[in-house]
């Protein structure tokens, strides 16, 4: 289909119709009720449920033990190789998780680790406020991953 190429008629040009139409449109927006801004730190934003934010290792709600089975699939799936899983075998020969290091400074929050995990253990939460003071703070160990990021709450 051919796109339009409107030609302004002489009368429209004389009476500045095109310019005035634009003016009316912008004038009609002059009310605060049409405002689209969220005043961020005061008003918390609405985050989707599936948002891929900071990672978290979930524990079993009944006995508080970790759900991780140390299968290492998340580390293999990660494109940036930012997960390091450490395990040892217990008396029955089953794998038990010892250390888990997740480097969020290299993470691109793609969600492949979450997809790869066979248990509901590794989960990308809705936490996006991840500023830290140093690179060291961005290598999260198992304890930080289980507790989640606890930022300092400012009241003002």
């Amino acid at each position: 289909m051919k796109v339009k190429r409107p030609q302004l008629t002489f009368l429209k040009k004389l009476f500045l119709v095109d310019l005035i139409k634009g003016l009316f449109l912008t004038f009609s927006y002059q009310r605060p009720s049409l405002n689209y801004t969220e005043q961020y730190p005061k008003v918390r934003p609405k985050i989707a449920e599936r948002f891929r934010g900071a990672p978290r290792l979930n524990n079993d709600p009944e006995n508080g033990e970790t759900l991780c089975i140390a299968c290492n699939l998340c580390a293999l799936a990660c494109p940036e190789h930012c997960i390091e899983v450490g395990w040892e075998r217990d008396s029955a020969g089953k794998k038990v998780l010892t250390t888990y290091i997740f480097d969020i400074s290299r993470c691109m929050f793609c969600g492949l680790c979450e997809d790869a995990c066979p248990t509901p253990c590794l989960e990308l939460t809705q936490d996006f406020e991840l500023s830290m003071y140093g690179r060291r703070d961005m290598k999260w160990d198992r304890q930080k991953l289980e507790e989640g990021n606890q930022p300092v709450v400012y009241t003002r």
Partner: protein
């Protein structure tokens, strides 16, 4: 003693009042620009400093004053400092002739609500505004850098071109009023019984468009448009000197609005200035509002229109800008003068 009060004390107080009020308006005009722009663009504008951002101009002023004073190494230091002052002072000096209201009685003494009534008021305004262009050229030259120089030259050429059409558009009003004094023009509108915009609509539109170009505002703001020359003639300026340029632009806007109101929209007159009734409705209730407030309301409407135009339309390219000024506005202004002259001759004998 009478001499001292009439010719020294009262003018001094008037100058002080006008200066303080206009400085305050200029400062809050910067906030109004941001808020109006925000509302048009479905957002909120400054909200953090003070309730609803009302203390923002104070924060801006403090910031600009406390900034580091940078002068480019190859720049001409004295002219670099002088240029913004040369741009700012004419904008404030012009306010000396603008009539804010009629002569009223304060404490038993007749006080005229304008600083002075120069009998060549219009000529004074036009010539002093032209001095402002010098400041821009000096600013661009003294910066010793290619972008400011180009921006200054373009800005100066644009302002000079639109001055001509501006002068022509005022001539119709002068013919109708018969005087160059701004106070007499307002009183002539009162005698005629209606504002001159109803007799000279084309001249008013021309005047406003030329005023937009004079103050370097959209759609004629290519010389300072960011997308092309970074910031035009004030690229190298920062801190207090930049704030002087910035204030000069807004003061120029206010002066242009005041002139438009005085020349075309009846100054401090109410609608239907000398008329008792309109279609049988008595109009005395309009007298309840003091004339200064009528003047202020009209100026506010014009300032809003300045902001409205900036945030609605795109900007002209430089050659199109010059074409509009010379090929369109000047012939229309000249034709307006001729038609007005003929009609004045025919209708007034």
């Amino acid at each position: 003693m009478e001499f001292a009060i009439d010719y020294v004390l009262i003018p001094f107080i008037k100058i002080l009042v006008v200066f303080l009020v206009v400085s305050g308006v200029v400062a809050y005009l910067t906030l109004a620009e941001r808020k109006v722009a925000a509302f048009i663009q479905v957002r909120l504008g400054p909200m953090r400093v003070g309730p609803y951002g009302l203390l923002q101009p104070i924060a801006d002023g403090l910031k600009l004053m406390l900034k580091e004073d940078i002068v480019p190494s190859q720049a001409d230091k004295w002219i670099f400092t002088l240029a913004p002052i040369i741009t700012l002072i004419p904008a404030f000096i012009v306010l000396a002739v603008i009539p804010f209201g009629p002569t009223i009685n304060i404490l038993g003494r007749p006080v005229s609500l304008y600083i002075t009534d120069l009998n060549i008021g219009v000529l004074y305004v036009l010539s002093i505004s032209s001095v402002g262009i010098l400041g821009i050229i000096l600013g661009g030259w003294a910066s010793n850098s290619k972008y400011p120089l180009l921006g200054a030259l373009r800005s100066a050429a644009q302002m000079v071109s639109y001055e001509v059409a501006l002068g022509f558009s005022i001539m119709g009003v002068l013919m109708l009023a018969g005087s160059l004094s701004l106070v007499k023009i307002v009183e002539a509108q009162k005698d005629a019984g209606y504002w001159y915009v109803f007799q000279q609509p084309v001249a008013f539109l021309l005047f406003f468009v030329c005023a937009l170009a004079e103050t370097n505002r959209a759609p004629f703001d290519l010389p300072e448009a960011e997308s092309e020359l970074v910031a035009g003639f004030h690229t190298e300026y920062s801190g207090f000197r930049f704030s002087l340029f910035f204030l000069a632009e807004y003061a120029g806007m206010i002066v242009a609005s005041c002139m438009a109101v005085t020349l075309f929209w009846g100054g401090w007159l109410r609608p239907f200035p000398n008329v008792e009734t309109f279609l049988g409705i008595p109009l005395h209730f309009l007298d309840l509002i003091p004339p200064v407030l009528w003047f202020a309301a009209k100026v506010v409407v014009f300032l809003y229109t300045y902001l409205w135009f900036r945030w609605t339309w795109p900007r002209y390219r430089y050659d199109q800008l010059m074409k509009v000024g010379w090929q369109w506005l000047l012939p229309i202004a000249m034709a307006n003068v001729i038609v007005t002259a003929i009609l004045v001759l025919v209708l007034k004998g």
